[in-house]
Symmetry: C2
Subunit: 269 residues, 2 copies
C-alpha cells in the first residue's frame, strides 16, 4: 500500500509550478532562438502562447535581470544575467568530458584508437584516450606530451594556437632538432603551411613521422570564442590505417571534432 | 467601479505561476553564481530553499537542456542551452546602446564631450556622441572616421585590434603620410608602443595631434571574449582639458569604459 500525505490541492499546485517552470524555460529558449530579441507579439506567436501569459513570465525574467526591454522599440532582449549564466555554462563546458562520446564512437564504429589532447605547460598533452579491445601497441598514453613537429596533434596546435608561449615551446623543439632529422622547413614556413592545411582540410594527417609504423589524423576542437580548445586524434598502424583526406577515418574525426565544438558553443563561421 | 472578471482562484494561480517563474530564475542565477555547477544540497542551501522544491525546478531545466546532471558526481551543471542563451545575449549586447549612460555621465559629471567609436570599414568611426549644452566646436560628429595615427581613439584601435584588415588600413594611412608631417616612428614600433601604453595605463591621451587645440583621452571597451568592441573617448579644448593619466577625466573615461566592458560580459583578467 502506498501512503501519500499530499492532498489533491497540493498536487495541483505542484503541477502548476512545474508548468510555470517549463514556460519560463520555453520563453528563454524562444528569445534565444529568435536571435536574442523579439516583440511580445512575435515571441507569443513563436511560442504559440497567450501574449498576456508570456508577458507575466517576461516580468519575472526582467526582475531577475535575464531580460531587458528597450524603451524605444518595446522589444524584449536577453540581458546581462543571461550573458553571465551563459559564461558560467561556457566555463563548465569541459572539452574532455564532452569529447568522451566521440572517442567511444570512433572505437565502436571504426575500431580505432583515439584521444583528446589539450595544451599543457610542456606541450600538447593527451588527457583522455579510448582503445579497442585489441589495441595497436603505441608508446603514448594519458599524460603523454606530443611533438609539435612530428605528430598530427602537435601540428594542429602549432598551426592554430597563436599564444606566444605555445609558439616559443614549439620553436625550442625546432631549434633543438638534430640536423640529421631533416627538419621539414624553416619554422615560420612550417607554421604557415600547417595553418593553411588546417584551414583547407580541417585536419592534419601524418604517416610514420612521429612513431615508426603509426599513422594519425587530428582535427581541431573550437570553443564558443572560436579559440582552439582541444585536438581530437585517431591513430593506428600505418599498414591498415587510411590517412586520405576523404577516407572514412578523416571524415569521422572531422565530424566528431565539429560535433564537440558545437557542444562547446562554437558556431561554424 | 472596477469590473474584474478574474476569480480569487485564478488570481491565486497567477500568483503561484509568478512565484514559480521567480524560483526558476533564482535557480539559474544561483547555479551561475556558484560557478556553473553545484550539488542539490549546495544549491538549495545557497537559495535557502527546500531541496525537494529545488529539484522539481532542476527537472524542468534539465528537460529544456539548460542544465545537465553529471552521472558520476550527481552535480547539476549549466548546459548547452544555457550557453546558447548566453551567446544570443552576447550577440544582442550592443556596445553603442550600453555606452549611452556612460556618455551622459561624462557630460553631466564633467561637462565634457564624449563619443563611442567602433571599427568601420574605413577605420575608427564615431557612432554615438554626447555634447554639453555649450559644446566645444570640433570638426567630428557621428559618422566621422578618425585617424589611426593622430587621434586617441585611433591609437587604441591600432594598439589593440590585431585583425590583418585593420592593420592594413592603418598602414595605408601611415604610408600615405606627407613626410613633412614627421611620422612618430616606424609603423611596427608605433603599434608596439601603443599596445604597451594601453596595457600600462588603460588609455591613450593626445594633445593637439589630431585637431589643433583639441585634446582627447580614449579607453578600450572589451566584450565577453576579451576582444576590443569599441573605444570610449572624451575630448575638449586643450586649454582647459586635463590629459594627465591620473586626472579626473582619464579616471572617469577608464572607469566608464570598464563599466561598459563588464556590461558586455567582460571579466577583467
Amino acid at each position: 500500500m502506498t501512503v501519500t500525505t499530499t492532498t489533491p490541492i497540493r498536487n495541483r499546485e505542484r503541477r502548476q509550478s512545474v508548468q510555470a517552470a517549463d514556460t519560463v524555460v520555453a520563453v528563454l529558449k524562444g528569445l534565444s532562438s529568435l536571435g536574442g530579441s523579439a516583440s511580445l507579439t512575435g515571441l507569443a506567436l513563436h511560442l504559440d502562447e497567450n501574449p498576456a501569459k508570456v508577458h507575466r513570465y517576461l516580468v519575472s525574467l526582467m526582475d531577475g535581470g535575464l531580460v531587458t526591454q528597450n524603451a524605444n522599440t518595446q522589444q524584449y532582449t536577453l540581458g546581462l544575467e543571461s550573458m553571465l549564466i551563459g559564461l558560467a555554462a561556457m566555463r563548465q563546458a569541459d572539452p574532455v568530458r564532452i569529447a568522451e562520446p566521440a572517442l567511444i564512437h570512433l572505437r565502436e564504429q571504426l575500431g580505432i584508437t583515439s584521444f583528446i589532447a589539450v595544451m599543457g605547460n610542456k606541450g600538447p598533452t593527451i588527457v583522455r584516450m579510448e582503445e579497442p579491445s585489441l589495441p595497436v601497441t603505441v608508446n603514448v598514453r594519458v599524460g603523454s606530451v606530443l611533438s609539435f613537429l612530428w605528430s598530427a596533434t602537435g601540428g594542429v596546435f602549432l598551426g592554430l594556437h597563436d599564444e606566444p608561449g605555445v609558439r616559443a615551446m614549439a620553436r625550442l623543439e625546432f631549434d633543438a632538432l638534430d640536423k640529421t632529422q631533416n627538419p621539414p622547413a624553416a619554422f615560420d614556413v612550417l607554421v604557415t603551411q600547417l595553418h593553411d592545411e588546417i584551414h583547407q582540410f580541417q585536419c592534419v594527417c601524418v604517416r610514420d613521422t612521429n612513431l615508426k609504423g603509426i599513422s594519425a589524423v587530428a582535427a581541431p576542437v573550437f570553443n564558443y570564442a572560436g579559440q582552439l580548445a582541444a585536438v581530437l586524434t585517431a591513430l593506428g598502424a600505418s599498414g591498415g590505417f587510411d590517412t586520405s583526406l576523404d577516407g572514412p577515418i578523416a571524415i569521422a574525426v572531422r565530424e566528431q571534432a565539429q560535433r564537440i565544438s558545437r557542444q562547446l558553443g562554437y558556431s561554424v563561421p
